[in-house]
Symmetry: none
Subunit: 249 residues, 2 copies
């Protein structure tokens, strides 16, 4: 079972317009041994094309989890990689090419749940959705003006993950970090707490808040915060917040 480790990998498709692309993506995943498909408010219901293109992967579509928003789809995920059509789109996130993405996934999948997130067919992921990502992946292409079909992108990235997982097994993988990472839900709770604390001490202006929190998300997202580190960070925020009441008393 060379692909069994891929059970910790999920594919998330955000607001997909063409139901056929969901079927094609399901088949692409399954050929590579990936089974966990999550759909964030798909624009149309499944069609005949969905099932025709899914071919032998109907079970993947039937078991797909549908959520109204991205954070709900990512709640149990510890590392989130967003697919980006262009490599130069932003310098704000660590950038992986498809091969590096496969290697990252294969190295870390035993310890954490990883999501690969694919945006809308035409417009990709919104800036707000990108903020939930720890890293971005792009598939190197010959042109900037012509991108891969979304199911094709799912195929290439699934293929790279499966290839890397296959190679990682022949060489017994050393776990570089023993400890479990905080999941996306815990990270979101931390960001809310942090934002409120920064507003309380007037470091963050709620009238113009966006850039600061995005930069802090990027910093902590890059680090990969473990569960026990999260406890420390929450404790620090509580202590910083508590000080003003203590001093007042």
């Amino acid at each position: 079972m060379p692909y069994s480790t891929l059970q910790n990998l999920c594919i998330v498709m955000v607001e997909t317009s063409h139901p056929g692309n969901i079927g094609s993506a399901a088949r692409a995943m399954k050929t590579m041994g990936i089974r966990d498909l999550r759909l964030v408010s798909p624009r149309k219901p499944y069609s005949q094309e969905t099932w025709a293109l899914a071919s032998g992967a109907n079970d993947i579509v039937e078991q797909a989890k549908i959520t109204p928003s991205l954070p709900e789809a990512l709640a149990d995920c510890q590392y989130v990689i967003g697919a980006s059509a262009r490599s130069e789109r932003t310098l704000q996130w660590p950038q992986l090419d498809a091969r590096e993405c496969g290697q990252h996934v294969a190295q870390h999948l035993a310890q954490q749940k990883i999501a690969l997130v694919f945006g809308r067919e035409r417009t990709g992921l919104s800036n707000e959705e990108l903020e939930h990502c720890n890293a971005l992946v792009h598939i190197p292409m010959a042109f900037d003006y012509l991108s891969l079909n979304i199911a094709m992108a799912v195929q290439v990235l699934s293929y790279e993950c499966a290839m890397a997982a296959r190679q990682a097994i022949t060489v017994p993988a050393a776990s570089e970090e023993g400890e479990e990472l905080a999941n996306a839900q815990a990270m979101e709770g931390f960001y809310v707490h942090l934002e409120q604390s920064l507003i309380d001490v007037r470091f963050l202006d709620p009238e113009n808040p966006r850039l600061l929190m995005r930069r802090l998300r990027r910093l902590f997202g890059r680090a990969g915060v473990t569960v026990s580190e999260m406890n420390i960070l929450r404790g620090m925020l509580a202590a910083f917040g508590g000080s003003k009441f203590r001093e007042r008393a």
Copy 2:
């Protein structure tokens, strides 16, 4: 022009049943910088689906050469690689996996014209057609009973050829993050500030301080803090520290 060498590579599709697959394959090729498509007696004429799926790659379809038989399509090719759904199909030909195929193509393309041949959607290449191949390529999959859609297979193999060609040419590596990292001196100044702030709010006990700071160092060290992020972190600490004086006043 990292992909210019791929002009010596052609994709041959034999008796394709679904005109949509030809359009998808054309787009898959073009995204990877491959332009020479050859069709051996396609079963149906181009359809609306062909053009819809070709998207920005209509030119590839328009310029595709159509021949009645495989030998005519291969006339000017010096090395022919046939796509095979199963790796164990035959021992009569040298077997490559997708990555090895890309490497072979990148190594030999400057000296020879190479064809990648894809058979019918359901039945692949006939034994007689296989006789025209110098080697076979397969894409490693999780299951034997579920194969990739033909356009997906074109995508994966085109991708592997383009990646190998790119690596064969490019060497000078770009810096992965544009922004400068904070130097060790700045990091040390931050840790001193952080430690004092945590002592001030009684989160850190100076009698037993070691483990906490070590863990925070590990967290921020792992992230790699940039110069501008360091400014934010120092500002946050000043704000958290300042609040107690503000409240006291």
